[in-house]
Subunit: 413 residues, 3 copies
């Protein structure tokens, strides 16, 4: 059993990825070049926003899912791997989809910034299938999901008149349902040992807290990254800040309230503290006063804790989906709440006959994200289930030792 797995890795994965990397370099050679014009203040301020996005992706999302007892190395390192690969692919794809007739991709700061955000969709989805896929499967996941999400955004922008900000903010809905569908395809009954590994330890949980905090602190930067009018950018920052503050208070209080002995669950905190930032994403530039953002943060915390209490039972038992890091109630449900709020908000805002069209468009954009997430997730899940990937055996689930060389096993954890 153990002997079967390594052979697949040795033979197929590393050469596969190295060849893929070489192929990407060749594509960049033929089709990509740098944009040549930039002004001074822009290179510094836009560079700072890009850096914030990279911190959220590499550190925040990497450590957010690092609390599994015996899988923390893989969580962090595979997250970096997927980010590095996803960004390269997303830059190419976005460029081609935006100007398909140009035959050439011009790379500018804003494109790398958006590519980093696009690649974050993979990192969010990966939370649902963490510990159940090998590197070769993750490579395919990266390519499929970045393609599907870029296509979704392009359709939203070109046919449904969504702007760059809103189409990006549907990332949470898309990524959560993509990940859940893939997890559904990969789900197998877990043996007793694998269930034990799906546990938390203090020290890795503090690492997860570190990831959570970095996401919490930098989320205003994420939500306002694609807003370019100063006033809207400011509103985006403020509303995200307030929604996050309220969802932090709500999450900790509700987690205690939901436990029969008033004890707080660390897993709830990791998830629900961020729900406010997710929910306020789409409408953050439109909300004109803090109390609305705060109500949204309260609702998001409520939904997220409610989901964390009831989902695992219903999902695990009824549908057989095992959602390792709670992607559904961290990103999926609050993201839906945000999308619906955005649509409701537009409705009340414009008292215009044209609004019916705009509202239909916005509903279509949100539904598209959801549908594309489910459909492309199903396709990816079916492909990942093929025998050729030599997926890890179910007893190796959630186990760093299947992937990592430990100097001495005795001191290995």
């Amino acid at each position: 059993m153990a002997s079967k797995y390594p052979r697949s890795l040795r033979g197929c994965l590393p050469l596969w990825t190295l060849l893929l990397q070489a192929a990407l370099i060749v594509i960049f050679f033929f089709f990509a070049s740098y944009d040549s014009f930039i002004q001074y203040p822009e290179v510094v301020t836009q560079g700072a926003i890009l850096q914030d996005m990279v911190v959220m992706a590499a550190l925040g999302l990497g450590f957010l899912s690092s609390s599994l007892w015996r899988y923390s190395w893989s969580s962090v390192a595979f997250n970096l791997f997927m980010l590095a690969l996803g960004v390269q692919w997303a830059v190419l794809l976005d460029g081609f989809l935006e100007h398909p007739r140009l035959g050439k991709v011009f790379i500018e700061l804003s494109r790398i910034q958006q590519a980093t955000m696009t690649a974050m969709s993979v990192l969010i989805s990966a939370g649902a299938i963490l510990g159940k896929a090998n590197l070769a499967q993750l490579v395919l996941l990266v390519l499929m999901e970045v393609t599907a999400f870029s296509a979704t955004r392009m359709i939203s922008q070109q046919f449904l008149s969504a702007d760059a900000h809103v189409s990006m903010m549907h990332i949470h809905v898309f990524a959560a349902y993509f990940g859940l569908t893939v997890a559904w395809c990969l789900s197998r009954p877990l043996p007793r040992e694998a269930e034990e590994k799906d546990q938390r330890k203090t020290s890795p949980s503090l690492f997860a807290m570190l990831g959570t905090l970095f996401l919490w602190m930098f989320w205003p930067s994420f939500n306002s990254a694609l807003l370019h009018i100063p006033d809207k950018k400011k509103n985006g920052v403020f509303n995200t800040y307030y929604a996050l503050a309220v969802s932090a208070v709500t999450a900790i209080s509700l987690s205690a309230l939901a436990h029969p002995q008033g004890k707080i669950s660390m897993t709830h905190i990791h998830n629900a503290v961020l729900a406010g930032g997710v929910a306020v994403g789409a409408p953050c530039h439109l909300i004109p006063s803090p109390w609305l953002a705060m109500v949204l943060g309260l609702l998001a915390g409520l939904i997220s804790i409610g989901g964390a209490k009831s989902m695992p039972v219903c999902f695990n038992r009824v549908l057989g989906i095992h959602d390792t890091c709670g992607v559904h109630y961290t990103f999926g449900l609050p993201g839906l709440l945000g999308g619906i709020t955005y649509i409701a908000y537009l409705t009340s805002w414009f008292k215009d006959p044209l609004i019916a069209f705009q509202m239909l468009y916005d509903i279509a954009a949100l539904s598209l994200s959801l549908a594309m997430g489910l459909a492309s997730g199903l396709l990816t899940g079916v492909i990942l289930n093929l025998k050729i990937w030599k997926a890890p055996h179910v007893v190796k689930y959630f186990d760093d030792q299947a992937f990592w060389e430990f100097p001495h096993l005795a001191v290995g954890f």
Copy 2:
């Protein structure tokens, strides 16, 4: 004993905090709205400073106090909770105190920035009472301390002609003595088991080091956040940078010198490395050459290490105060040094007959911070000692298990 505590939590705390959160939303609904005008470069640069403050508060101060053996989850998560609550309250309060007749609070970037800094006073104080209070008590602490500190700043600015920067820099003195007085009220003789829990482990200590480093790295940003003239801002950054560098070298050397076998104490490092930044806070924009900041850093390191060696004995034995994280010698004493330096500096700077008045004002502002810290801390401590809070029993002090749900106790730490 264990059964008594959870009931209090279940019944009182979470509903209490949720209702409080709802009340805050209602107050924001009636009284707060966003400021509508902002220029482009400002939204980016001020946003970056705000982000630095949030990193220092959520991550730096959160992890700084995470080195207790069995209390690291609570340290980090309760810190986030207090920050999220404190910021909301501080924004409202600052707005009302600044323009009491307006009946309305206009929220702008600089106000959120100052509210974050105000909320840091709670996080500093919490270091002295960490592990001895439950969440309901911490909620009260947040409300009382933010109110007291905002009032202190308002009085300093309106009646003692202190500027925003100096009145904020007295935060260390205020918060340290507030925390110590509360700790004095809550102090009870620790049983043997609780004393054992007041220990450090390698891994949590590295987390505390992480918190220390983030504070160390971002301190120049804290000290210069409220300085708006470029030249003063630059001086603030430079002097803080030098004072921190010298206090790091001093702390490590002195800690070895103070130990009979030349061994360094990690606890000293966590505290004394930051003393330079605290001490240079108030006068940082006036100091015209680096050597003065360096001398201040040296003195602050000296005082801080000296305090760490002699204080616990005298405080614990004589006064019966148990200062969990060494707030007194990390923030209190270096803050006093900084305040006195600022006064001394002004004296030598202006050779003017008017100086006598200004000096009296400055002495009054520093004394006010100290007195308000002691008085409001005493009041808070007395209230926190009431039976209605159902404070944790002394055998539950410093224990994560009183507050957190552990999946399996066997792998719980």
Copy 3:
């Protein structure tokens, strides 16, 4: 044996360093003053770059080397100590070397920024001798290496017409070979116990991953810090970003490929993931399209993993050098690759008869860094080997307990 060592520490080190710190203050008193003119946007943007450099130095390099089993406290704290000392010395030295006749050092933001980068040379070198030197020896290391590197940069700039950027980017080559030579001088056959301590644990390895990630995320800022033309700065950021992405993918794939069972080595990841950023350093502002940076990242990852697989054997056995943190293949070899690429690049770029001169100059600048690293490393190593330093005995190598006070040894790690 144990009794001998502490006496040396107690008697010599802390007083030594405190006196040195006092001497530095006196020198600053006589010779240093702040530059008095600064414009508004500059103080914010340049301040942000300085902060990025400090994060890389204190946090990134500090935690990068924290994965040793029983030496993580020392790695992080001594790193901070060396940084704080090195920056002070580098500011003075750079100022004097730049305007030797002025007799006065004017401190401006860009000078502190360069001093922080110069001090990073010490932190890189320290990776090779970590766990084998006491604090007194590290103090000497700081003074010697900062002096040697500042002198190297000054010669490069004044006699070999290198610019500030390129002469700084040779830091990796200089620091790696300096560190290796010192490690060669300090190398002694390790007893069995010391070898066991040279191991990794999960939790410290996650800290090392944190350090790696911070370096990975902020590297674009490092490589573009000394580039002041917007277009070049942008190219620097872009190329570094791409090289890092490719070297991350390459490192993880190759590490699996190189292991007989397809398992990835965490140590490889810590080192090789950063190789792309090192290699692209010198030529990053000249490379006009992403694929070149990507090829460089691929080659750097290849060299770094190759080195990690073959170097320890050849170095440990043949030359007797023990390179604790793999400085040679993380910084040394990729740095050489970058230097050679820069020279090759210039050659193909200018089709000018004058190019021969420029190329000779550039070859000379790279060779100078290498030669100065080796020569000053040898000198430092010989001095550090003197009996007066009372170096830790070889059985105390890699052991936190020689330096740190543990509250209770039983819970000490």
